[in-house]
């Protein structure tokens, strides 16, 4: 296990480095100069040179990368080209919206899908079992922002129960206000996420229910519920945990999209604005944090999977 942890951590580190280089290189090598963000169409050559010097684009790409990387190691993400404000506090402020949104949506999706997936598998021949399977099949084809649009039109514009967009100006100063703003976004993301999760839970449950070990346990006189609880849970959890990592990362990105439906000041809207303004430090900062989140989640899921399934611990290969 220690060996595995070391290898997996090394992999995490290397993949993160590769991702950072890729982000930097893609942004610099593709057409478009970072200094364009500061200039009007009619800029004089002197203005262009000054802008390039200001953002450091006049130096060789490799040198720019080293500067950026040195900053990163000090957890300094630089300053915005546009507002000259440091990137890191801005990201931290926006994580206060995106992280609660992601976690609440994920928790809700998990509850929905565990119940729905289990029912759909165990009651596969009942009408409601079939209905759940059908809805989850439909759900994976639905774009998340569309669900958001529909929910807003019904619950905010139509019934006026909840705010349609925005977030309290004073953030979490009044938690109930903040939660009200997050309710519809959370439900939106959770509904869409639970569709695919339900399918995984259903198929894992079907595997467990049809398994030989469960039949053996039953034959030895164990009750159905007891057999499911003692043998089924641990076996069924293995494939689910590895999926959960991917799904949590997807939830995070779903949140990024849904933020623009509901006008939430989260990481997603920051990225979109930065892309629009060619604000490279902000783009890099958001992608740095998102990549880190996604990779760490993957790491945690892999380790958790090993802890649950002793069979996997024997294999030492770094990439499964």
């Amino acid at each position: 296990m220690t060996n595995y942890l070391l290898r997996r951590s090394a992999f995490l580190l290397v993949s993160f480095l590769i991702a950072m280089v890729a982000i930097f290189v893609l942004l610099r090598l593709l057409p478009g100069d970072p200094s364009n963000a500061l200039l009007s169409v009619t800029a004089t050559p002197e203005q262009i040179a000054a802008a390039q010097a200001q953002v450091g684009a006049d130096r060789p790409v490799f040198e720019q990368f080293l500067t950026w990387f040195a900053q990163l190691t000090r957890l300094d993400l630089g300053e915005s080209f546009i507002s000259s404000l440091p990137v890191w506090p801005e990201i931290a402020a926006r994580l206060a919206v995106t992280v609660p949104l992601t976690l609440m949506a994920f928790a809700l999706a998990l509850v929905i899908s565990l119940v729905a997936g289990f029912v759909a598998a165990v009651k596969a021949d009942r009408w409601y079992g079939i209905l759940i399977s059908g809805i989850s099949q439909l759900g994976v084809a639905v774009p998340v922002f569309w669900v958001g649009i529909l929910l807003v039109s019904v619950f905010s514009v139509g019934l006026r129960w909840l705010p349609s967009s925005g977030f309290p100006r004073d953030d979490w100063a009044d938690p109930s206000d903040a939660l009200r703003s997050l309710t519809l976004p959370v439900i939106t993301v959770a509904l869409v996420m639970s569709a695919s999760l339900t399918r995984y839970v259903r198929s894992a449950t079907l595997d467990v229910v049809g398994s030989d070990y469960l039949r053996s346990a039953r034959a030895q006189g164990s009750g159905y519920t007891e057999a499911l609880w003692r043998h089924g849970l641990r076996n069924g959890a293995v494939p689910i945990i590895s999926i959960l990592g991917i799904e949590l990362a997807t939830t995070f990105l779903g949140a990024v999209v849904v933020e623009s439906v509901f006008g939430l000041p989260g990481l997603g809207s920051m990225l979109l604005k930065a892309i629009e303004q060619h604000d490279y430090p902000n783009i890099q900062g958001v992608l740095f944090v998102s990549t880190l989140v996604v990779l760490v989640i993957g790491f945690a899921a892999d380790v958790a999977q090993r802890l649950v399934d002793p069979r996997l611990r024997v294999s030492i290969s770094g990439n499964r």
Binding site: F11, V14, S15, I18, A19, I23, L26, L27, L30, P31, G32, S133, Q137, L138, V140, A141, V142, P143, V144, F145, W146, I149, L150, V152, S153, V157, G158, R202, S203, L206, D207, G210, R215, A249, T250, L253, V256, V257, S260, V261, L271, L272, A274, I275, E276, I283, L287, S290, T291, V294, L295, G298, G318, N319
Partner: protein, 285 residues
């Protein structure tokens, strides 16, 4: 599921279920393809023309009504079908060519190269399609081409990993050893033994990826990172109709339904193909 009798009726039911999914998938996707083909030769109106008053309700002259600029919605929706299919096909072609090449290379390569490629693929896969697409669009500017390239690149990693695993499995088969012993060269083995054997599973995955690509394009367009205006992508139609969802609900509903039809259609086809690819797979799991 202990009795043989039960098992065999299960299989029969599963098979009937499969042919039903394949058929409905073909109908759904076929409808969208048909609409897209018709849009190439005939449209109700010129897409950019204001042909009615703002936000008209559906009528004989405007089947789905008009948008907030008075343009015909049915026309926009038909063009959207074309864009969705072009993005889906384009990115699947890019993803398949790149992915299969990389996957085959990794499977045949020396172990250090295989490990390196696999690790690199894991990094790209950990980086979700949408984020990668945003990055490429951020650097290159929003255009239909950037979107297709971005989604195709992200997809290629998934395809490459699958190709590598499938190829390794086939390489371990005795018929490959037999072919090698009888003097078949590697290119011959790839064309005659590996590709035909991995294609069934691969094509199911590619069909699913098509749906993922269509959804990713819709999200990008919705966020304003997709193909710029004259291209009426379904995602952008939804974004434009969002503000008027109560006064003109059709505009916000029709593109969504079109999207779902296409994506669920390809998912159904993938499900149906899976049965052809792997008849031993039982039940509708």
């Amino acid at each position: 599921m202990s009795a043989v009798l039960i098992a065999s009726t299960d299989v029969a039911r599963a098979r009937r279920h499969r042919s039903w999914t394949l058929l409905s998938g073909l109908v759904l996707v076929g409808t969208v393809v048909l609409v897209a083909l018709i849009s190439l030769v005939w449209l109700p109106y010129a897409p950019a023309d204001t042909t009615g008053t703002r936000l008209e309700a559906p009528s004989g002259t405007h089947w789905l009504g008009t948008d907030k600029l008075g343009r015909d919605l049915a026309t926009q929706l038909m063009i959207g079908a074309r864009i969705a299919l072009v993005v889906g096909l384009g990115s699947v072609v890019i993803g398949a060519i790149l992915g299969i090449t990389i996957g085959l290379t990794a499977a045949f390569a020396a172990s250090w190269l295989d490990d390196t490629i696999s690790a690199a693929l894991d990094v790209v896969i950990a980086f979700p399609v949408l984020l990668l697409a945003m990055l490429i669009v951020a650097a290159q500017g929003a255009s239909l081409g950037s979107v297709i390239v971005a989604i195709g690149l992200a997809m290629s990693a998934v395809v490459a990993r699958l190709t590598r695993v499938l190829t390794k499995r086939v390489l371990g088969e005795q018929f490959v050893t037999a072919a090698r012993t009888s003097g078949t060269r590697w290119p011959g083995i790839v064309v005659r033994h590996i590709l035909p054997n991995i294609w069934p599973t691969l094509s199911v995955n590619l069909a699913l990826q098509f749906g993922v690509a269509v959804l990713a394009e819709a999200s990008l367009s919705y966020l304003g990172l997709g193909a710029p205006p004259p291209n009426a992508s379904w995602g952008r139609l939804l974004q434009e109709a969002q503000g008027t969802v109560i006064t003109a609900p059709v505009g916000a509903i029709a593109p969504g339904i079109a999207l779902i039809m296409l994506v669920i259609g390809v998912n159904f086809i993938a499900d149906g193909l899976r049965d052809v690819a792997d008849p031993a797979r039982k039940g509708s799991r």
